[in-house]
Symmetry: C2
Subunit: 222 residues, 2 copies
């Protein structure tokens, strides 16, 4: 029951380890972590020693790192906080989905009793954030939704947008221009063999989406 004190830097590393491990199963390598954090490999090694001392990661020299149960819970709580704040910023303060990440990156580190649960309640227990990512509950349980990349759909199939893989402002703003957002229905018309660009129907109009766009869009197939 004794709560481990963590700095913002430590928390950011824990989250990064969690996210890298999510994509590539197995231990997270130092270079991958450093790349995810935008720091040098030396800095990552340094931090891994600190996190290891605090029992938040299992770290073996030259072999990579995995989160301990405590580390995993902390990372999950961080992601929960990050995503709840994003919902607040979009739903309550009226920010666009491409504007909220940097704020949430700071807000997720605010410490104190009950804040997250009060926020969660105020927001009506949202289960997904403004980018369609699931928000783990207070016990750290995740919701899994069946979803597929738009790139995997065949002509004639339809899907409802449930999320994005690329969270960059550039991508999100481009989607806005295309009229694509969470819940929007997309009908796949045809795919060009040459470059896999795809003609789709969105609401009233039609658009051509590059392969890159189709790879970064998640849909629920209808």
């Amino acid at each position: 029951m004794n709560t481990i004190l963590t700095t913002s830097a430590e928390e950011n590393y824990l989250k990064a380890i969690f996210k890298v491990a999510e994509k590539e199963p197995g231990p997270v390598l130092t270079n991958a972590l450093a790349a995810a954090m935008g720091t040098s490999a030396a800095s990552a090694t340094d931090m891994l020693k600190r996190l290891s001392d605090k029992q938040l990661v299992a770290y073996e020299k030259y072999r990579g790192v995995t989160l301990t149960e405590a580390g995993s819970q902390l990372a999950t709580a961080l992601i929960r906080k990050h995503r709840l704040w994003e919902v607040f910023l979009v739903d309550k303060l009226g920010f666009a989905w491409d504007e909220v990440h940097d704020f949430a990156e700071q807000l997720e580190h605010v410490q104190g009793e009950h804040l997250t649960e009060r926020l969660d309640e105020f927001l009506g227990h949202p289960r997904f954030d403004p980018h369609g990512d699931p928000i783990p509950d207070a016990q750290g349980r995740w919701i899994r939704r069946p979803q597929a990349r738009l790139a995997t759909l065949a002509p004639g199939q339809r899907g409802v947008v449930t999320g994005v893989d690329d969270h960059s402002s550039a991508f999100l703003q481009y989607l806005d221009e295309l009229g694509i957002g969470l819940g929007v229905e997309i009908i796949l018309i045809e795919r060009t063999p040459y470059d896999q660009s795809t003609k789709v129907s969105i609401g009233a109009g039609e658009s051509i989406l590059s392969e890159k766009v189709c790879q970064n869009l998640f849909v629920r197939i209808m």
Copy 2:
């Protein structure tokens, strides 16, 4: 128009300088600042050099420190953010007035465009925080209210509670027990010459308030 980058530590010192200067006019002395910050005088001196380099304070060795225009604006913006977040925590998340200070102490340091203005708008442009303290507007303008310490009222006078001088949890919770909060009307019945303790009428009942309590309560005389 070039925005000065500040750390949380620098911001906390700026706010402390502002607040000490508010109480005691004239330059803020190193020891007073260190006491307000809960750090050593050596640490305060160190920080004063940094703030002076950034042109946020005018610091003269052994003579004390005053905020520059830039420093004063920054401190005011900090106080604005702190108090707006307190309103959010009480009005929207349902925290009690004695629970929000530590959260606001962190939230005031969240950086980014438009956040404060969006929050202000969401909250309906509140002009006072949950402790009755004025919230400066986006231009840094302050509202001054005529108010007096309850200790200065004479028997027979009545006042409406507008604020507190002591912001401690202990004091605020004691006020809760007494049924005293912002907007509550207090009628002064009599004051004992011996220790200045004061019999008052609050709503239905009567209470005896110590001199300390009366000194820390602000009222608008009716």
